[in-house]
Subunit: 368 residues, 2 copies
């Protein structure tokens, strides 16, 4: 293999595929990046959970493949001058990296054992703008569970049917649901993608209107960005019937400024002890809400003007669940709907149904 490409493009590709490379693997080859010059020049990282392939513009002088340790290769290319880089495989899998007056010789690994990424037939697919899917992931991923005893909850549920695309994260105490209605028809896809994979994908997606294609098979999903392809294994199993979770009985409804209630909750959570998870008490009155908390560190009381409809109530929440949901909501004003003093509450947009963030309450002591 002998290729020449710009340092900039090469580094761009390395930065992308490195997201799928194991830092420490029992298989040495999985700590590497596969370089493959065959028609085009492609790099691949694959930790068997997620595989990323990136096509890099290059002048191929002779075809071939090799695997290079990802960290060493990345560190070297990152430091090279901004110029043309020559990559050449010599005898005994020795790889030459040359750029201006810099000359490296690094030991490569034969590519035979490297797991190339899964190819998926393109029947079951839909297209969506990068910025849309990027936002939807960001707005649901924080609510994904980490309990390995409930494996289906450790992923984001992606459900497209007809004209609607839903993404859902649930960890047993809360739910984040984002919905996108499109004029184009979506193909039907129902997959649970591991949260870990989604965390990497969201870093690769750009805030652009460019479209990506999402393709699913029984065991895998492919995010096709054109030059970059990301394949993830799927989590097997039935996802919770999330639509039934959104409460329909409403006892109290408030409308509040998002930034103000977020600031108040962030302050109120300062004196809670992270280990002991003290709740913040929401005391909803006719024109105001009082958020309060009392711990061994001290006491806090925050007051906010709101619009309220329904009964007064007192209810406690883990402030972190509220804060994380509020942080990803872009609206200036929000609606919060309470079912009862012991039932879930849900954050909705003032109008429409683009999102629903449901949070279960926690018991509060009466002396709080």
């Amino acid at each position: 293999m002998k290729v020449v490409c710009s340092k900039e493009k090469l580094l761009e590709g390395i930065n992308i595929v490195q997201k799928a490379v194991s830092a420490k693997s029992t298989l040495q080859i999985l700590e590497g990046i596969l370089l493959k010059a065959e028609g085009n020049f492609k790099m691949t990282g694959n930790d068997l959970e997620i595989g990323i392939e990136c096509c890099v513009e290059a002048d191929i002088r002779s075809e071939g493949t090799i695997v290079l340790n990802s960290k060493i290769f990345g560190d070297i290319v990152r430091r090279l001058p901004d110029s043309e880089v020559l990559l050449e495989v010599k005898e005994n899998d020795k790889v030459i990296i040359e750029c201006e007056n810099s000359h490296f010789e690094i030991k490569g690994i034969p590519s035979a054992g490297f797991p190339e990424i899964q190819t998926i037939d393109t029947e079951n697919s839909f297209k969506i703008k990068q910025n849309v899917i990027r936002d939807m992931i960001r707005q649901t991923i924080f609510a994904v569970g980490i309990d390995e005893n409930r494996p289906t909850l450790t992923g984001i549920y992606i459900e497209s049917n007809g004209s609607e695309l839903n993404m859902v994260g649930i960890d047993g105490f809360r739910m984040a649901l984002r919905r996108k209605v499109s004029l184009e028809e979506f193909n039907i896809i129902k997959v649970i993608v591991p949260g870990k994979t989604m965390n990497e994908i969201v870093k690769i997606l750009q805030p652009t209107d460019d479209e990506i294609k999402i393709i699913s098979s029984k065991n895998h999903v492919l995010f096709d960005l054109g030059n970059v392809k990301v394949v993830s294994r799927l989590i097997d199993g039935e996802y919770l019937n999330y639509k039934s979770i959104i409460p329909e009985d409403i006892e109290t409804k408030i409308i509040t400024n998002k930034k103000d209630i977020l600031g108040s909750l962030e302050r109120a959570s300062l004196i809670s002890n992270e280990d002991k998870k003290y709740p913040v008490k929401f005391s909803i009155e006719e024109e105001k809400i009082v958020l309060s908390s009392s711990t061994e560190i001290g006491a806090v009381r925050e007051e906010l003007r709101i619009e309220m409809d329904g009964s007064k109530m007192e209810i406690g929440f883990n402030p972190r669940y509220f804060i994380e949901a509020l942080k990803v909501i872009d609206d200036e004003k929000i609606k919060i709907v309470f079912t009862s003093e012991i039932g879930p509450c849900t954050i909705f947009p003032i109008s429409g149904d683009d999102y629903a963030y449901m949070i279960l309450p926690v018991r509060i002591k009466n002396d709080v």
Copy 2:
């Protein structure tokens, strides 16, 4: 105590004095900030190595003192709205922090046991611009030793006499020396200030022409910035006769572009193993220098055009020592002077004697 001040000024002060507060101390009071409203409003942090006092503009409604846990106090103030903050001590050392609709009650600690910072008589002092002393610290601190068996080398040596101010860091393998010649007369000061203290001071100093006053006593040094005063204990003992360390015999002299040699060394060091500290070999020829290294990871060879005067030579160095020195040199071109293939080398400015970075060589195997 009852004071009102702006959140902005209060937070500025907290951020400064927190640099002297122990994160974890066996004395709970040392994890706190002393607030003292007596004529003016002052905050103090003191871990007994370094003490920082900061005067904050405030409306004092009643005098008094209290100590507040630094982390909790800082976290709360950081999150408050940008408005006026009321601080008030109530019965049982309870402290009210109030800002707009936020109301906190935190347990304070009586100030009786708090070590206020050392006062120093102002005989032995000199003035210098903040940006000058800031640069001098930054340009020497990396070379300070960490070996507690050689305590004097764990500090920066500050020596002012007549018209010259020198700052020196030595760790046994290298020396960083910065010199400032001033038209004003300096008072004579010779102190060794702990590197840890200097690391905090450099963060407080601003890149401005404002003057600071440096005052020394037998055991302490005070950096007086006006509103902020930093006191550090001194390291006891005689500092090395650093002037005698700078080699006078010159066998080879090269002139090179700083950025180019820094880039080459950074690349050459990539394949050295941090644990094993492989050296980089400098092969100096008539018009070029070749930097090379060979380890179990691979081999690297970097070539640079230079101006050379003297004999050809081959000599090995720990690349990190070179890199750290080159990074703090602002000149475009530098002079590097070699005494012999087993002797120290020194980086100087092309003209003048504003700095000298001396580095001891390491042995190289012949097959490198």
